[in-house]
């Protein structure tokens, strides 16, 4: 497997790399449930969380992930950073990189922020914690871990994703992951909340939520991002949106008895999801939060780990005997 140097998005990961991170995340679940939640894996590493957009769970999740692995973690949010004093993004990045952190975790409202900084910061591993409407890879790895725990594998399953697809980096990253891992995405939204040509991702598009429900193995609700919908005519009212696109108990029954409910948070109860559904036994929303810490521990570990190219570390031998013999002849 090729070593993972940065995590920009699902687009840049192979299926093998995705499964590697999810599997490692799964083994960190146990560390997070211990009485003493601390392993020395990243002792001596420094991680900076640089958040230009508000975030509670993702930032907390990265912070806990680093701290539980004994790394030193610093949080910087836009309101306290020097960008409010007129510093450019590049200067902020270079300034922080000069303090020699191992990993820089970045959330920004502009797509491609991590790739841009990576070109200028050769010695720092970068993690995209959400860039505009582009990608949110650690959320998708989190969801894949939740699905692995629920189903074993997402392959062949149908996930119906509902809501503001146009502004959703989660939706976009999921569509990319679905193609790599072999699950099907059904995309449900009013036309006003769908990007153009989304079917090019290989998904099936619905404007009628009820038509998309039968056969779904999971319903994935997205938050209506009211902060990105200012002065928009995307939909007339919250009540009408909830009527047409909100997940309630009746709709969940229509999806089938084994259908699970997911949401990347934060939820707007009464808007995209009804309270009884959010709190039902079919809801995996809090599992997602728990798995988020474990998966981010795996991402940080993988980025801080050495180069492991195309070989197993298990036997202590660089090559299998067959290959070694072959090289002698």
């Amino acid at each position: 497997m090729k070593a993972i140097k940065h995590l920009f998005g699902i687009a840049g990961l192979s299926r093998e790399q995705i499964e590697y991170l999810v599997n490692m995340g799964e083994s960190f679940i146990e560390v997070n449930r211990r009485a003493i939640k601390k392993a020395p894996t990243l002792r001596g590493k420094t991680i900076i969380n640089l958040f230009f957009e508000n975030s509670t769970r993702t930032r907390t999740s990265f912070e806990l992930a680093g701290k539980r692995l004994s790394a030193d973690v610093i949080n910087i949010s836009a309101s306290t950073s020097a960008t409010t004093k007129g510093e450019t993004l590049l200067d902020t990045g270079q300034t922080l990189a000069a303090m020699q952190p191992h990993v820089l975790v970045i959330r920004h409202s502009l797509a491609g922020t991590c790739e841009f900084l990576a070109e200028h910061l050769p010695n720092t591993a970068l993690v995209n914690a959400g860039d505009g409407a582009h990608e949110h890879p650690t959320q998708i790895l989190t969801d894949l871990l939740t699905l692995k725990q629920a189903w074993g594998s997402p392959e062949g399953k149908i996930i119906t994703i509902v809501g503001d697809i146009a502004h959703s980096r989660v939706a976009r990253s999921h569509l990319l992951a679905a193609q790599k891992l072999g699950y099907t995405m059904r995309v449900v939204a009013p036309k006003t909340l769908l990007p153009a040509q989304i079917e090019r991702y290989g998904c099936k598009v619905y404007h009628d939520f009820d038509a998309a429900l039968p056969g779904s193995d999971a319903v994935y609700m997205l938050r209506i991002q009211s902060e990105r919908l200012t002065d928009s005519c995307a939909f007339p009212s919250i009540r009408e949106y909830h009527e047409a696109y909100g997940l309630n108990a009746k709709r969940l029954r229509a999806a089938g008895p084994d259908c699970i409910v997911m949401h990347p948070g934060p939820m707007n109860r009464g808007m995209e999801i009804a309270t009884d559904v959010a709190d039902s036994v079919k809801s995996h929303i809090l599992n997602q939060v728990e798995h988020g810490v474990a998966v981010r521990m795996a991402v940080l570990t993988a980025l801080c780990g050495g180069m492991q190219e195309e070989k197993s570390t298990d036997s202590g031998l660089p090559l299998s005997d067959d290959k070694a013999q072959g090289s002698l002849i």
């Binding site: 599997n23 490692m24 146990e30 392993a39 692995l69 570390t313 005997d321 070694a324």
Partner: protein, 174 residues
């Protein structure tokens, strides 16, 4: 190239001897994933046949290794499962092969993140020499003086045996 250094009979005899040497009514066995866990299972069988009560646990020390800078973590990490009530107890830490001692050092670190045992004793199926840390086993099944760099492996597919593999690229030239 690999060669068998201990056959099935030798391995089985060694496990019987080790089980006989572990005394007590209630015994805590913690195996190191993955070879050590298999040896611990074999010991557990023998001990339970004798009438002892065995509490089992397993450790995966991947996250406690000291070489993250040189290698990425093994993708097949298995979760550690430790009984939470071993504080104040004597526990037997079981591994298949003792080489540098670094695995044991990492395992000790992990054990103390779970609790505070009264004592930790180390039992290994093969002690191959080449220790790099002041760690010595309390109980050894088989002793073998292996050349540095070669790999000693417990093979558990089919009847168990122990083989030695030469490091790649150091074979005799014709």
């Amino acid at each position: 190239m690999s060669s068998i250094i201990f056959d099935h009979q030798a391995v089985e005899d060694a496990i019987v001897q080790m089980a006989d040497a572990i005394q007590g009514e209630q015994i805590h066995l913690i195996g190191i994933q993955r070879g050590g866990a298999k040896v611990a299972n074999a010991l557990q069988q023998r001990l339970e046949a004798r009438g002892a009560q065995v509490c089992r646990g397993n450790l995966d020390i991947s996250f406690y290794r000291d070489d993250l800078d040189t290698i990425a973590p093994n993708p097949e990490v298995k979760p550690s499962q430790l009984p939470h009530d071993f504080s104040g107890q004597t526990i037997w830490l079981i591994d298949d092969v003792l080489y540098t001692g670094r695995t044991i050092r990492a395992a000790l670190g992990e054990i103390f993140d779970y609790g505070r045992p009264a004592a930790v004793k180390l039992a290994v199926l093969v002690n191959r020499g080449g220790h790099q840390l002041p760690i010595a086993p309390d109980l050894v099944g088989l002793n073998y003086d292996a050349a540095p760099g070669c790999s000693i492996k417990l093979v558990t597919q089919g009847p168990w045996y122990i083989e030695q593999r030469e490091p790649a690229g150091t074979k005799e030239q014709p």
